[in-house]
């Protein structure tokens, strides 16, 4: 395992360093590059949003970062350095040391992610007992505390409940309690609110914010919903066909995006603020088949700005000039009206307002 990251004098940027990460599934129909070379950095207590549609590889990315990908039929390349640990290539036994205690994950569907035949209290207490060596009584007491922390009413009673007896929102709260049981410093949240009602979604997102502040965690929020990342993240990554097509501070990406896909995604999303019957801009076609990815830019076949070069050569991530804002496109959109300086300032302000200090 590499420990050289510790020597870096800017720890805030190097809490999590992902470099050229690839995840390829070996299928009966050939290799399927679900994640095709992703690099980014994440600082302490920072919130990173990963946005993409189905098949963009965002879920696979989050699992590969954690090292949770199954071992068979999968090839992982590149590097994930997390707080002095190299994840790629580590054995399951090595990973087990940091799972739960340093990095934890919450999953999309709380119904299938909770063991249906075990009481929820036991599921929370399990890692306390096994990983932290608490006695069963201590674990139970702490589990009830955690249930209170995540806002579950009458936690003593709910301790005895089975997952099927809870509502969707309650189950997601239980998932959060399980993930946070051992005080991890990095939380990966994979579509944590998909399938929940809007009011419950707001509750869960507020809870996550609150807990992030309280417990001092970095969070990677994976979602398909641009609304979820818009106000809850410091930076975002936009993924398409397994690659990062744009990344930067949230405000920069929303207001000053360069990649046509990012714009298309934003324009095809209906908005509450738009008047009724606003014609949506659509992206023609469908996401590409990852088994038959062409040489060039994966978005080229659907892109209105595509040129011949786009289908021949794959664009790499280029800096825009704004700090930390990158895009991958041969024919980027023009620098938009929003002045760079003010947007940087307000992003910071925004971050302090809503996420933490």
């Amino acid at each position: 395992m590499s420990t050289e990251t510790n020597q870096n004098n800017n720890p805030d940027e190097d809490f999590l360093v992902v470099e050229n990460l690839t995840t390829t599934f070996n299928t009966a129909r050939g290799p399927l590059p679900a994640v095709g070379g992703v690099s980014f950095r994440l600082g302490h207590n920072e919130t990173l949003g990963v946005v993409g549609e189905s098949g963009s590889g965002k879920t696979v990315l989050s699992r590969t970062i954690m090292g949770l990908q199954p071992r068979t039929n999968v090839e992982v390349g590149g590097s994930v350095r997390f707080d002095g640990h190299e994840i790629v290539g580590a054995t399951e036994a090595e990973l087990r040391e940091i799972w739960g205690t340093k990095v934890a994950m919450i999953f999309q569907d709380p119904m299938t992610s909770l063991n249906p035949v075990t009481k929820i209290g036991k599921q929370i207490g399990e890692s306390l007992h096994v990983r932290l060596g608490m006695s069963k009584d201590e674990a139970k007491a702490r589990a009830i505390e955690l249930l209170t922390l995540v806002g579950i009413p009458s936690p003593e009673e709910r301790y005895e409940a089975y997952p099927t007896q809870l509502s969707g929102g309650m189950r997601q709260r239980v998932m959060i309690a399980i993930a946070l049981a051992c005080n991890p410093s990095l939380l990966l949240a994979d579509e944590p609110t998909t399938g929940l009602d809007v009011t419950i979604q707001a509750q869960i997102l507020n809870l996550l914010d609150e807990l992030q502040m309280k417990l001092q965690m970095s969070v990677i929020l994976v979602t398909h919903d641009l609304g979820v990342v818009a106000t809850r993240t410091d930076r975002i990554i936009v993924m398409y066909a397994g690659r990062v097509v744009e990344m930067g501070r949230t405000k920069d990406v929303f207001k000053d995006h360069r990649m046509p896909y990012t714009r298309a995604l934003l324009e095809s999303t209906p908005r509450v603020s738009n008047p009724s019957h606003t014609r949506l801009k659509t992206i023609p076609g469908r996401p590409p088949n990852l088994l038959k990815l062409a040489e060039g830019c994966a978005f080229a076949p659907r892109c209105s700005r595509a040129t011949e070069k786009c289908s021949q050569e794959r664009p790499n991530l280029e800096p825009t000039g704004t700090d930390g804002h990158y895009f991958a496109c041969w024919n980027p959109l023009d620098n938009q009206s929003a002045p760079v300086s003010s947007s940087t300032g307000s992003t910071k302000e925004f971050g302090e307002d809503n996420v933490r200090s």
Partner: protein, 325 residues
């Protein structure tokens, strides 16, 4: 949009749907009334379990309604014989949430689209094929390439296009869309929403659009109705209702909706708790247990849907917006 001069295509009066769960009774839809005018789209929005899908299904008589009346072009649906109801239902069609499961995986696309024609025996042979060809073209599925494929070979978005083609084969007056885009990705969702808008114009459809996504509903609807725990809270023209919600629940719902824009300040005051069980709905106003403005009156007296002007109706004793006059 809702001028009296317009024809009423669908009129619902005090619709009730009660399910039996063991010895208990769950009233999924507890008496709702609304009118649907020719050529308009009414959005029906609410959180899961509020009874919006059950309403749609009761209108199609997929689940039996246990009370109230449904008028389609003036004819009352529930009192008709099975046979008469069946033929009246030709005027109404429905598209479902799960695009993949709503197509039979073991049948060919062109047969799926032709299903209504075959059922009603309205077109045969070349005429039938021509209609199918035309419909598939309209929804953007190339019939020459895909017509003979099986439904299981298509993605969600394509399946939804096929479903739409099928629902239009009988040229219905009324189309009920039940969460038709909620299983789809944003880019595909936009395609389907635009397609529905186009087809609505072309076929002169009247639509009931049921969904949980507030932005989607606003985008497609002329008027929007908000449901909570089996009751209508509020109904009104989309732009008015979204700009000036009169019912506290509508206001909270809009506040919780996330906008894809980091500059819009999110309303952090969210509703606390979860909706009560429909097995034991609260007395009076059903929202009162979570409503910050609730008083004793709300517990004792059920608020009726009343006009507050500009086509907006609200069921609340203390609406946030007074009269529009």
């Amino acid at each position: 949009m809702s001028e009296a001069s317009k024809n009423v295509v669908l009129s619902v009066k005090d619709l009730e749907v009660t399910f039996r769960k063991g010895r208990q009774r769950v009233s999924a839809v507890a008496g709702i009334s609304f009118d649907l005018y020719e050529g308009e789209t009414l959005g029906l929005v609410g959180e899961s379990g509020c009874g919006k899908s059950t309403t749609g299904r009761a209108l199609m008589q997929i689940v039996p309604s246990t009370g109230g009346e449904i008028y389609v072009d003036g004819a009352e649906l529930t009192s008709l014989s099975k046979k008469e109801a069946r033929s009246l239902r030709r005027k109404m069609q429905m598209i479902f949430q799960d695009p993949i499961s709503s197509l039979n995986p073991r049948r060919r696309v062109k047969d799926i689209v032709a299903e209504p024609l075959d059922c009603w025996k309205t077109a045969k042979g070349e005429e039938r094929d021509a209609i199918v060809y035309d419909l598939l073209n309209k929804v953007g599925i190339d019939p020459a390439v895909y017509g003979n494929r099986y439904a299981r070979q298509f993605s969600g978005g394509q399946c939804q296009r096929i479903s739409i083609a099928r629902s239009l084969a009988m040229r219905p007056r009324l189309l009920i869309c039940d969460e038709v885009v909620s299983a789809l990705d944003v880019s595909i969702q936009a395609q389907i929403l635009n397609l529905l808008e186009d087809l609505k114009k072309e076929y002169g459809l009247t639509m009931l659009f049921i969904a949980h996504d507030l932005a989607v509903v606003k985008n497609i609807s002329d008027r929007v109705a908000v449901m909570y725990l089996g009751k209508l809270c509020e109904i009104g023209p989309s732009d008015t209702l979204y700009a000036k919600p009169a019912h506290p629940y509508t206001s909270f719902l809009l506040g919780a909706a996330l906008e894809a824009d980091p500059e819009i300040e999110q309303n952090r005051a969210t509703l606390s708790g979860e909706p009560p069980s429909p097995l034991h709905p609260p007395s009076g106003c059903r929202f009162r247990t979570r409503c910050p403005f609730a008083t004793e009156k709300c517990a004792s007296e059920e608020p009726m849907l009343r006009d507050i002007g500009a086509g907006q109706q609200v069921a609340c004793h203390y609406p946030l917006v007074g009269s529009h006059q």
